[in-house]
Every structure is written in structure tokens, then in C-alpha cells.
Symmetry: C2
Subunit: 339 residues, 2 copies
Amino acid sequence: MSKATIYDVAGAARVSLATVSRAINNPEKVKPETRERVLRVIEELGYKPNAFAKGLASRKSTTVAVLVPDMSRASIAEMMNGIADIARVYKYSIMLYILDNEESTEEEVLKEIIAAQVDGILYLNDEITTKQHEFLKMIQNEHQIPIVLSNTVFHESDEIPSVSIDYEKAGYEITKKLIDEGRENIYMVSTVRKYMVNDLKEKGYLRAMDEARLAPQIMRTSGRISVNTEHFNEYFRNHKVDGVIAVRDSIAVSFINVARMNEVRIPEDIGVCGFQNTKYARLSRPNLTCVDVPIYDIGAVSMRVLTKLMNQETLEERMIMLEHDVMERGSTKSEEQEK
Amino acid sequence: MSKATIYDVAGAARVSLATVSRAINNPEKVKPETRERVLRVIEELGYKPNAFAKGLASRKSTTVAVLVPDMSRASIAEMMNGIADIARVYKYSIMLYILDNEESTEEEVLKEIIAAQVDGILYLNDEITTKQHEFLKMIQNEHQIPIVLSNTVFHESDEIPSVSIDYEKAGYEITKKLIDEGRENIYMVSTVRKYMVNDLKEKGYLRAMDEARLAPQIMRTSGRISVNTEHFNEYFRNHKVDGVIAVRDSIAVSFINVARMNEVRIPEDIGVCGFQNTKYARLSRPNLTCVDVPIYDIGAVSMRVLTKLMNQETLEERMIMLEHDVMERGSTKSEEQEK
DNA sequence: CTGAAAGCGCTTACAG
DNA sequence: CTGAAAGCGCTTACAG
């Protein structure tokens, strides 16, 4: 069945292969009767165009590359769902490239991607550096391949379009919330590794603390549960603290567990907030107050933006920020204990 | 740079394009000197073969399709990491197909996959039915495309190779563990939806209960946290229970939360076990005893098996079962409270 | 060991 | 609106 070629269709429909090609790709250029005849034959024969021949002849692949650092991060996996749903609507296939920060460098992978002749690239690596950003710009300009940064922001320029939320604002809001509860020794628990969006969260935190004339304190942790435990234990035994904002839900939950082990009451003694609103936030006790990041939407919108770019459309906005919410739950004073 | 074609290389190296092709694909058929000359030119020109032309001429794509039901399931995301790492080693690209159980049916997606001319398919949809299995066999036989089921088993036949763990045995072992603690009213909390591997877990549970002459009780839940809460609350208020085995960690954690809300002590009053050993298991209090499924390895091995198949090698074993462990933690009596 | 040439299955100006 | 033909950039028998 997948044996049928465009020649078979042309023969059976008594037209030339050029007409078959047009009936598929430019229906308006074919007389309705012929078009229908051709389409009927296509149906009968179960004809599917050979993607390679099509790609070779047209120089288009209707394929996009998605570059991710690590699929097991919940946010990235969920973003993929949004990307895939929109990709399907616009008939794009997805080539997945996962970085295994060992053997091959990101640059090599990007070269592979170029060689694969994708029509566009979705870049989900949040640890983007200036150097990487330069390389991406080179690809965008020299190879004319559109790129969109998903849930990744590169504050210094909008030359490469991005889709995310306003993390600085979110960081500010969530900090403000703890301040409004009367907390004074509020810590931000961020990561050792330099993620761009965590940087923004920190900025928002600093702004809120500054405004309230409170001393900001940023602690950096690895993100690995086992390491965190020791780290938290030691750190907070020697520090006064009544508020904690973690850059990721799982880190916040980790902290809550350690705190409770030390007989600290949440939210009475310490108010705790996270970022993302993952399943972790709802499985923790108490439920975690956190910034609700519309991660599926970020994926979907990025893909949509990329289709526009691949279609030569110009964007009205090159740094797109979606709306976010703050989920108030039991780990802060709003006592809205969820089920 | 990506403009260079095989003609440019041939010209610069003063050989025919056939020789360039051989130098790349069958180095042993080319005299060492010429080969090196060609390779040097390739390097200089930054030549990358055009994947479409190559695919069209050779009828091979060095691409595999990975079909998943939903990327946001932690097990699937982690499996992708294993798949991608091995795919890279063997130079295969990955086309990702995520089912959005709305518009397009699985059959349509599979047809798309065939049209894309992938060399092999990794099938990660655990809700496989007999009908779907038949369709897969048709693809395997009629289109000669190798398929491997990853973390999915179809007990009735091994016509399509699979890689997983022995879920029946794992179900048996974990049940046995609760029985050995002296528990008698042990429930299995499974899903409403029919996942093949959950079926196997249930079988193992039933065997252990039967052996111990205890009455098995299987409760089915949706897997959604909010629904579970009500469900658990109602159910367990009216039933005597001292042991719970959930088919997924997150369901187990959900149960623990509800139980503690009802002043039930874990593990004293009820011993709780899960499956998978995800982050949920380590973020829960108490830490969750569970079957440790080597999910990254399942992904890696499936991909490795697929490469063998694509290489026409015959498999020694068509139903591969990797080893698993049982992580004993605080939610059962072994009191090994982890950090 | 190397080259000339056909062919893979499409798209797309160019005529008509 | 339709067809003939060139061309996309490779691979692979077939000769030599």
C-alpha cells in the first residue's frame, strides 16, 4: 500500500504527475473535476507522498526540531505536549534532540539539526549562555532557519523570539505575598546552575525585598533531593527564617519535609512557596502555594509562533509573556487547604 | 556552509561523486589515500550529506519513530532519555509522535509514521489492545518495519518484541512483603483504564494473596489527585484495611496524604507501597516503599534492540525482562527512613 | 579501486 | 487548467 507513487496515481487518474502534485499542494490551480478524480484515486490507492522526495524537491521538510536539555524535567515534558498538539494541527513533524551533556556538545547537535534541514527550531534549553545565543543567531541569520526560545529568555536581546511568562514579575509577586503576611526573614532558594529564568525570579525577589527594606538572602542548592536535605538542615539551623521561596516546586517540597522533621510548623513558623504548580505541589502536605506557570500553553504558543515565522509572517511581539497565576494554598497563611 | 553538495566535494577532491559517497558510507572500498583526501575536503568544506537525497536514494532514513501517549507521565519522559542516549550512539534521529486522544486516532498516526519512512518504531503506549496489536503486526510484516514495545507487554504473543520488567513477579514480591509484615487486609489500588502492565501487577498481587489464603481486593481509581481524595475517603471509611499497594507512586502518595488526614498512622496502621520509584516516592512523608523500575534502562535497551532489528540481526529473546529492585522505605515496617 | 550513469519520487518553472 | 521535462542530491549496480 505505501508502494503507490505519484506515477501510479497519475496513471490511474489519467493525468500527469504534475497535476497530481498540484491537486495535493495547490488545489486551487486544478479544475474541480480533475482534482476530485485525483483525490479519489489517492484515497483508493492509499497513496502517501514520499517525504524524502518531497523534501528533496521542495527544500522544505515540514519538520521542526525541538532541542531539550533533559526530558525528565516535568516542565519540559508537559511543554512537549503543547508543542506536539499544535504541530499536529499545522502538519509539522517533530524531530527530538535531547542533549546528553557528555559526549556531544550543543553546537554539534545544532549542526546535526541544520543538516537535517528542519524548517524551524524550538529551543528549550534554559541554561542558555551568551555564546550559545550568538550561535543561535548565526543559525537564524545565516541558514535562515527560524528559532523560538520556549520558556527561556535571553534578556539582553529579542533578536531570537521567545515565549514565557514574566518571571521577574512572578518572583516579585510571590515575595510580596510573604511580605504581606508579615514575614521578614525571607529566603530565596535558587539553583547552583545558572538558569536564565531563575535569574529573573531572583530579580523579582530582590526588587520586592528592596522595596520593603528587608535584607535579601539567596541560598543556592543543587536540586538533588538527597543533597538538599543535608544542606537545608545545616543552613537553617544557623539562620533565622520565616519565609522560603524555592525556584522549583520539588525544592520547596523538599524543604517542607526537612522543616517538619525539625518540628518547624508550616505555614505558622515558615511560609513556603514554589514555582510551576506541578503535581508535587498538590501531593505535598501542606499543599504548596506557588506560581502557576501555564507550561502547556508556553509550548503551544511557541510552536504557533514558529509556524508564523516559517510562514514568513512578521511577529508583532518578539518577547511574548503569557499570564500567570499564584495558587494560594496551605503552605502560606491563606489557609486554603486543597484536597 | 551547508550549501556544499557531494559534487563540490568530488570536484575539490578530484574524484567522482561515487567515490565520495563510498568514502563516507563504505570506507573500506576506497583506497586509503583517496579516502583521506576526500575526508579532508569534507572537513574543509563543512560538507553535510543532504538527508533527503540520502533517504530517497537509499530508502533508509536512519530515523526511528517514538510513539507515546502522553509525554507528561514521568516514566515516559525518563524513558525518552534512555532512548535518546542510545539513538545518538547509533546515529539515529528520533521523530516524536504524541497521541492526543482526541482528533487523530492511533491508526492514523501510525500511517503517518509509515509515510515518514522511518527505519523502526518504538511503541510506548501501554494501553495497547488486541486490535492495536494486530495493526502493529501488520506494519511489522507488511511494511517490514521493526517495532519494539517499550515498558509495554502484550502477554498473548511475542511476535512483536518487548522490553520491560517482570511486572507480575514485582507485583507478587511487593504483596508478599506486606503479607510478611503480618498484614491481612491488603488492597491493590489500580487504575480504571486498562493498562497492560497494571494487569500484570494485579496478577502478581492475586497470586501472592491466593498463596497466603487472603481475600484479594482491587479498587480502581482514576489517577487524578482530586478525584482520588474523595474516593479514598469514602472507600476506606467503610472498609478494614492494613495494607495498600498502588500501581503508581503518585497514587500511593495521594493515599498516604488522605490516610494521614484521617489520623491513620503509616506504616503502623497501614503499610503502603508504590511502583516506579519516582521523585514522588522520595518527596513523600514517610518515604514510599516501592518497586524500583529501571525505566531509563528500559528505554535504552529497547532502542538497542531496535537497532539490532533494523540491522537484520535476530534476537535471542523477544520478551526481554530487566531486573528490578524493591526499595524498602518508611511507608512499610522496615523503617528505613530515607533522607 | 574508481567512474559513468541510471534512478529514487517528488516540485516547479515553462509552454501551451 | 494541464503536460513535458529538468532538477533536487544522493546511492548503487555495472563496467573497467
